[in-house]
Amino acid sequence: MEALYTSPYFGVALSVIMFGIGVKIQQKTKSALCNPLIIAIVLIVGVLLIFKIPYDSYNVGGEIINMFLAPATACLAVSIYTKLSILKKYWLPIIVGCIAGSLASMVSVYGMCRLFGLDESLTMSMLPKSVTTPIAIGVAQAHGGVVPVTVVAVIFTGILGSITAPLLIKLFRVSDSVAAGLAIGACSHAVGTSKAIQIGEVEGAMSGLAIGICGIVTVLFSMLI
C-alpha cells in the first residue's frame, strides 16, 4: 500500500486534483466563501486522515510546490511595474495609505494577541495576516511564527475582506475610489483585490498595488519588533 504515496508525484497530483475541484466548485457557485484554496486544503487533509497517510509522505510532493512560492512572490514586482503610471500619479496617497494600513493591522493584531494572552509564536503567526500569503509566510518564518496558522489566518482575512468590502465602503462612507481600492488591498490582499476589480477599475488597480507595497512595509515594520 505504501508504494501508493511514497513518491513526490503523489503529493503534487493530489494537490492539483483537489485544487482543480476547488476551482470548479467556485466557478459553479461564484461565492467567495468557496475559496479553491480552502476547499483543496480541506479535501487533502480529509484524504490524508481517512487513508491514514502520514503528512510527511504528502509533503515530499508538497516541498516541490513550495519551491514556487518565492518565484511567485518575486513576480508581484511585475504586477507593480505594469501599474507604474498610476503609481507615479498617486504615489503620495498610496504610500501614506499603505504605511497607515499596515501599521493599523499590525498594532491591532499585536494588541489583541497580548489582550488574549497568546504566546510569542502565535502572535508572530498572526502579525502579518493582512498581507499576501507568500510575504506573510516569509515574515512568520523569520520571526518564529507557526506558518500554517499564518496561511489559514491570511486566507480567512482575505475572504472576510472580499465579502465585507462593499459593506465597509458604505459604513465608513468612502466616496473616493483610490481610498476604497487601497483600503481593500491593505486589509485583504489578493483575495480582496478580485472583489475590488469587480467594484471598479481604479479600485482594482489600487488594491493590486497595495498588495506588494503593504507587503514590503509590513516586512520592514516586523523587523522593529
Binding site: 508538497g62 516541498e63 513576480c75 466616496s175 489578493a190
Partner: protein, 119 residues
C-alpha cells in the same frame, strides 16, 4: 525554449535573493528581496517585461495553488487551533475592520490635501 529561458531568469533572481538574504545581518524574507530585486531590474531596463511575461503570468495567475501544501500542514496543529481558534477569528475580524477604516481615512485625507494644494 522561451519558457525555459523565463524560468531560468526568475529562478536566478530567486537564487541570488536567497544568497543575499543569507548574508544580511538581520532576518529578511528572501522572497521579498526577490520582488524588490526584480522590480529594480525592470525599472533600470536590465530586464524587459517581455523577458518574463509568460512565466510571470503563470505564477501570478496560479498563485493560490502554491499555498496548498503550506495550508495542509495545518493538520499538524489541530490542537493549537482547537484551543485558540475563536480568539484568532476575533482578531482577524476586528483588525480587518480597523485596517480598512484607517487606510481609507488616511488616503481620503491625503487626497483632500493634494486637491486643496492644486487649487
Amino acid at each position: 525554449m522561451k519558457i525555459i529561458k523565463q524560468i531560468g531568469i526568475i529562478f536566478t533572481v530567486c537564487w541570488l535573493s536567497q544568497v543575499i538574504a543569507e548574508f544580511l545581518p538581520f532576518e529578511f524574507p528572501a522572497s521579498v528581496i526577490g520582488m524588490v530585486f526584480l522590480f529594480l531590474c525592470l525599472l533600470t531596463g536590465i530586464l524587459k517585461i517581455e523577458h518574463i511575461q509568460e512565466k510571470s503570468d503563470f505564477l501570478l495567475g496560479n498563485m493560490a495553488f502554491f499555498f496548498v501544501p503550506a495550508g495542509v500542514s495545518i493538520m499538524n496543529y489541530f490542537d493549537l487551533l482547537k484551543n485558540n481558534g475563536v480568539k484568532l477569528a476575533v482578531i482577524c475580524v476586528v483588525s480587518t475592520v480597523i485596517t480598512f477604516a484607517v487606510t481609507a481615512f488616511s488616503v481620503s485625507f491625503t487626497m483632500k490635501l493634494m486637491n486643496r494644494r492644486k487649487k
